[in-house]
């Protein structure tokens, strides 16, 4: 008797809960993993959507969404329009991130060091090999630069960060563009590779004379010494959320197909030079419309209410006009 009553109570409590909680799965970008998980934690109560996200890397994320193994994929590099059409996918940005140059030069305060895109390109191409090179000395008048070999460090694993960084260098250095190129993995003429952002940061820290590119969020959270960079307008800037937001605001979103906007080296006195968005890929013909609805519900909540969480983790929220365009683009997803 009492057992039946308990069972009834359990059913009464369990049935609505089961109907309410929707489970969605996503995979891809490690760069965006912290914010997607944070959004999922914060939004679960409001949306009833729980997220199972695997940070397996952008390339793997694209693979998984093409096979429809997950409900959405996440990639730091945008897919080409033709690829999106062929795979019946739509893509939209979620947050903005920036790339910093972490440096380790003994006797020099890394935060005060000034570099430019062309100089960094020459360092990574092995043309500038010493910290007391005239090209660097000219940017840092009055600074006593040591006679020390430069040890450039790059991401050995395929990475959206490398895509953004090589995209920037190719934009400011024609030599880099023709000799190295832009990709998630390139054939570096100089330096050595390390695994993951933490690996690059560790190698820079470990090697006197080291320089490496890391996501801004990581650099801030780990208090790395990061160089000032010269932007498109010729101003030297320290990396800061305001500088990233300025670059995002000046980017020409209206002209870009599928939001694949190039935010590197944007004009504007306050624009940080190496900035990028991270993207989400959703099928336009989902095999389970209910799950696709849940995915859009989750990202809809994130775009409307997720700015605070994003800032806490050192990401930059999208400009309001871009958010509106993103939500409008979701009409392409057949959720009925």
């Amino acid at each position: 008797m009492s057992f039946a009553r308990i069972a009834l109570v359990l059913m009464a409590a369990g049935v609505p809960a089961a109907g309410w909680a929707e489970q969605i799965t996503g995979a891809g970008s490690t760069l965006a993993q912290p914010i997607y998980q944070k959004w999922a934690d914060v939004s679960a109560k409001a949306t009833g959507v729980t997220l199972n996200y695997q940070g397996v890397g952008s390339g793997a994320g694209i693979k998984l969404i093409e096979q429809r193994t997950v409900d959405f994929g996440a990639s730091d590099a945008p897919l080409q329009h033709i690829e999106l059409v062929r795979q019946s996918l739509t893509q939209f940005p979620t947050v903005i991130g920036a790339v910093d140059m972490a440096v380790n030069v003994p006797g020099v305060s890394g935060d005060a060091l000034r570099l430019t895109g062309p100089v960094i390109a020459d360092i990574y191409m092995g043309k500038i090999t010493n910290w007391n090179d005239p090209a660097i000395a000219k940017l840092n008048p009055g600074m006593k630069l040591p006679d020390l070999k430069i040890a450039p460090v790059y991401r050995a694993d395929g990475s959206g960060t490398t895509y953004v960084f090589t995209g920037y260098l190719a934009k400011v250095s024609p030599d880099f563009k023709s000799q190295v190129g832009v990709a998630k993995q390139v054939s570096w003429p100089a330096g050595q590779g390390a695994k993951g952002t933490a690996g690059v940061a560790g190698a820079v820290k470990n090697t006197s004379g080291g320089i490496g590119y890391v996501e801004s969020a990581y650099a801030t959270l780990n208090h790395l010494a990061v160089a000032e960079l010269r932007n498109h307008d010729g101003k030297f800037l320290k990396p800061s959320p305001a500088a990233f937001a300025a670059a995002a605001a000046t980017a020409d979103w209206a002209a870009a197909d599928d939001f694949a906007v190039d935010m590197n080296d944007q004009p504007g006195a306050k624009s940080w030079p190496i900035v990028s968005t991270t993207f989400v890929l959703v099928p336009t013909n989902p095999k389970d419309p209910a799950r696709a609805r849940a995915v859009l519900k989750y990202f809809g909540w994130a775009l409307k209410n997720g700015d605070k969480a994003a800032r806490e983790l050192q990401y930059i929220p999208l400009p309001a006009s871009v958010k509106a365009r993103v939500m409008k683009s979701w009409s392409a997803v057949a959720v009925q």
């Binding site: 040890a151 590779g193 560790g202």
Partner: protein, 324 residues
């Protein structure tokens, strides 16, 4: 009477029991054979799948794949030379460092060390084998690499680096990651496998042989050299090959310390690359259906071939001398 009825029962039960046995035998033999064939089939399927996946890369690059030092996902040109070179050099160097050390450990544990010391030393060596490879990687990255760069490399560069001819092998820019550091880490990792095998097989040498040799006035070293080593030759080489196999395929620890650079340098202190490390790093971001992915599978296939050749060579080495 009681004994009689008991044997009668045994006679009655006998055939029935044996029939049960026969069925069990057939079943067991079937399962055992199936297991054997399954492993063979599995191995064949893996090789076949790897080869099929690698085919586009072999077609696109041809024989150049084996001799080209290029690895450029931007221009889509791939060659295996750098990673094959790095794999072989780091593994062979690791063995050169580990084998004498392992022999010393085994010799000490079986012949020299006092009884009370053998157990703790033996356990310590075995524990080395239980350390996860990521721990070795981190140790190499944070401790060993910087230490080698600060203390070992300058000394070698200043001394051996000046010797004409072989100088280039020891000359390099200071750096924490290099083939040499990778080989050191690998040496520590394969040491317990080789040492444990050697110790175990040294202990199998019949005491009679050794006592006889001692009786003839042999020294401890002479007993080791002329009695123990010849007796255990096969198993010792087997242990070394086990170590080589582990060194060839080690991924995580090597990734941390080798520098992941796709360039061949004469110097041991320059960063390099290995097959396992390159595949592990690039596989997740290689696009589906791309030549890049196919080239990575081709590298995997090459590693398979290298391991197979190592195994085959060790078999030849292990053939008893008398037969040929």
């Amino acid at each position: 009477m009681p004994s009689n009825s008991l044997s009668e029962a045994a006679v009655l039960a006998g055939p029935a029991r044996r029939r049960g046995h026969r069925f069990g035998d057939i079943l067991f033999a079937g399962i055992a054979q199936a297991s054997g064939l399954f492993v063979l089939g599995l191995l064949g399927a893996i090789i076949l799948l790897l080869f099929l996946g690698a085919l586009p890369a072999f077609r696109a690059e041809g024989a150049r794949f084996l001799v080209s030092a290029a690895w450029n996902p931007v221009t889509d040109h791939y060659g295996a030379l750098v990673s094959v070179y790095g794999t072989l050099v780091s593994s062979v160097l690791a063995l050169l460092l580990a084998v004498p050390l392992a022999f010393g450990v085994a010799y000490c544990l079986t012949e020299l060390a006092p009884g009370w010391a053998r157990r703790p030393i033996g356990t310590a060596v075995e524990l080395l084998a239980a350390v996860p490879s990521i721990i070795y990687g981190m140790w190499g990255f944070f401790q060993l690499g910087p230490w080698v760069a600060a203390h070992v490399q300058p000394v070698l560069t200043a001394s051996l680096g000046r010797v004409p001819g072989i100088g280039a092998v020891f000359e390099a820019e200071p750096g924490n990651s290099s083939l040499f550091v990778a080989a050191l880490v690998l040496a520590v990792m394969v040491l317990p496998f080789i040492a444990a095998t050697m110790r175990d097989v040294f202990l199998t040498v019949p005491v009679m042989f050794k006592e006889s040799a001692f009786g003839l006035g042999c020294t401890k070293w002479e007993v080791m050299r002329h009695i123990v080593l010849p007796y255990t030759r096969t198993a010792v080489v087997g242990g070394i090959m086990l170590g080589l196999g582990r060194a060839l395929g080690e991924t995580m620890a090597v990734t941390f310390v080798i520098g992941n650079t796709n360039r061949i340098s004469a110097s041991l202190f320059a960063p390099g690359n290995t097959i396992a490390s390159l595949v592990a790093l690039e596989f997740p971001e290689a696009d589906q259906g791309s030549l890049h992915l196919s080239a990575l599978l081709a590298l995997g296939f090459l590693l398979f071939v290298i391991s197979f050749v190592v195994l085959a060579v060790s078999r030849v080495l292990l053939r008893p001398r008398g037969r040929n």
